[in-house]
């Protein structure tokens, strides 16, 4: 079989994995902030951060080019200061996938944190815990199931990312050509057998993700009930 298919799969998993790890940190942090802190513009911030869920990925890709492109305000600074360039790199693909999948973690995390009874956090404070310990020992474990569900969805979404990734990272085989982009390229080039292989691999990978997520949440709820 075509080894480039496996390279595309490995790249897709790497990009989606990195994007999910980033989103876990960013989404949990922001979700907690939105759920627990009162500040002006809170709902506006939530709406702005949810935009990637409803905007077309190509529009997101365009925004990203404006920001991190070679002449973008952040991109130009990065290039001049560190000689770093994000466009047409796998790191650029990670940024695109992170942005697109972010609202899925944010929404899940905010809802999960809002579902944690603040009384439990108060109880922990009176019992002598600092704020970090309250978060790690009470809030996060209580919210974890909901967060995990969002994280798995975000991983699946990042794995299938196409539009924004194509605009930001392009389609360089072995470098930025993820599975979903490789499928498009193969079909465009009339390489039906390659397309078949890629589609098969993608489908099997997604089924594997769904199965493992199902098992994960089962094990989790079993643990909660024990």
């Amino acid at each position: 079989m075509d080894s480039s298919a496996w390279i595309a799969l490995a790249l897709s998993l790497k990009v989606a994995g990195c994007a999910t790890a980033l989103n876990l940190v960013l989404g949990v942090g922001t979700g907690w902030l939105l759920a627990r802190k009162r500040f002006p513009g809170r709902e506006l911030l939530d709406a702005a951060l949810t935009l990637p869920m409803v905007l077309p990925p190509t529009v997101l890709g365009y925004y990203l080019l404006v920001v991190i492109g070679k002449r973008g305000w952040l991109g130009a600074w990065l290039y001049e200061t560190f000689g770093m360039q994000l466009i047409f790199t796998w790191q650029g693909a990670v940024i695109a996938a992170t942005l697109v999948a972010f609202p899925l973690v944010l929404k899940a995390a905010r809802a999960a944190f809002e579902g944690v009874d603040p009384q439990l956090e108060r109880a922990a404070r009176v019992l002598g815990l600092g704020e970090w310990a309250v978060f790690l020992r009470v809030t996060l474990p209580m919210a974890w199931n909901g967060i995990l569900a969002g994280v798995l969805l975000a991983f699946a979404r990042a794995l299938g990312e196409f539009g924004a990734t194509l605009m930001v990272a392009g389609s360089i085989p072995g470098k930025t050509q993820t599975l979903s982009i490789a499928v498009y390229e193969a079909v465009q080039a009339g390489q039906d057998s390659t397309a078949n292989t890629l589609v098969l691999i993608t489908s099997i990978t997604c089924i594997a993700v769904l199965l493992s997520s199902g098992r994960l949440s089962q094990a989790r709820s079993a643990k909660v009930m024990r």
Binding site: Q119, R122, A123, A124, R125, V126, L127, G128, V224
Partner: protein, 232 residues
Amino acid sequence: MSLDVNIHKRVNSAGRSFELDVHFRTDARRTVIYGPSGAGKSLMLQAIAGLLRPDSGRIAFDGEALFDSDAAVDQPARARGFGYLFQDYALFPLLNVRQNIGFGLQRGWFNPGRHAAQEAVDRWLHAFELTEVAALRPHELSGGQCQRTALARALVNEPRALLLDEPFSALDPELRGRMRDELQALLDRIDIPMLMITHDPDDLSRFGEARLMLRDGRIVEPPRSAAAVANL
């Protein structure tokens, strides 16, 4: 114990504004503050525990300022050294009875293990007849066991005083009487100062050496007897 409370706090929620303006001092070992629901009892107790920051005023325990807006003193809840029994007990649902009781003994970022050996925890498990259910989680316990677990969790840290928020309201009437006896026996045994808030006149007559009444966010002239309270 001597507890000095002079605080002012305005709370806005759901378009309603509530003003808490509480001034009292008590030197009794056992003080009960009685008031109808919505009088601000829980808010006041939270302010004393350090869970709610007053807009202004001063809270002092045995002469030590816990909160003083003029002197910019505001000890966090974890430093105030109170034991707090929440109305709904606020037991940690993911932890078993043993872990719940040992929660405050273990500092740092991790919860005590399921079978953590903590001598003080074993002592309280035994004292409250919870040894049998030590491995169970809160949702598997009876109401009385929940309350005993919550009490043990509050007492294991050896607090300087116990704050009780409507300790019997979550129990059915039959159990309520028994738990009252239990709590009184416990208070007699360990001789810990306590401040209780309640809307139940029976608690007032039973536990109050000093009796205060809170109404609409203010301390008002306390009733003389339980019978007088019942007529309010």
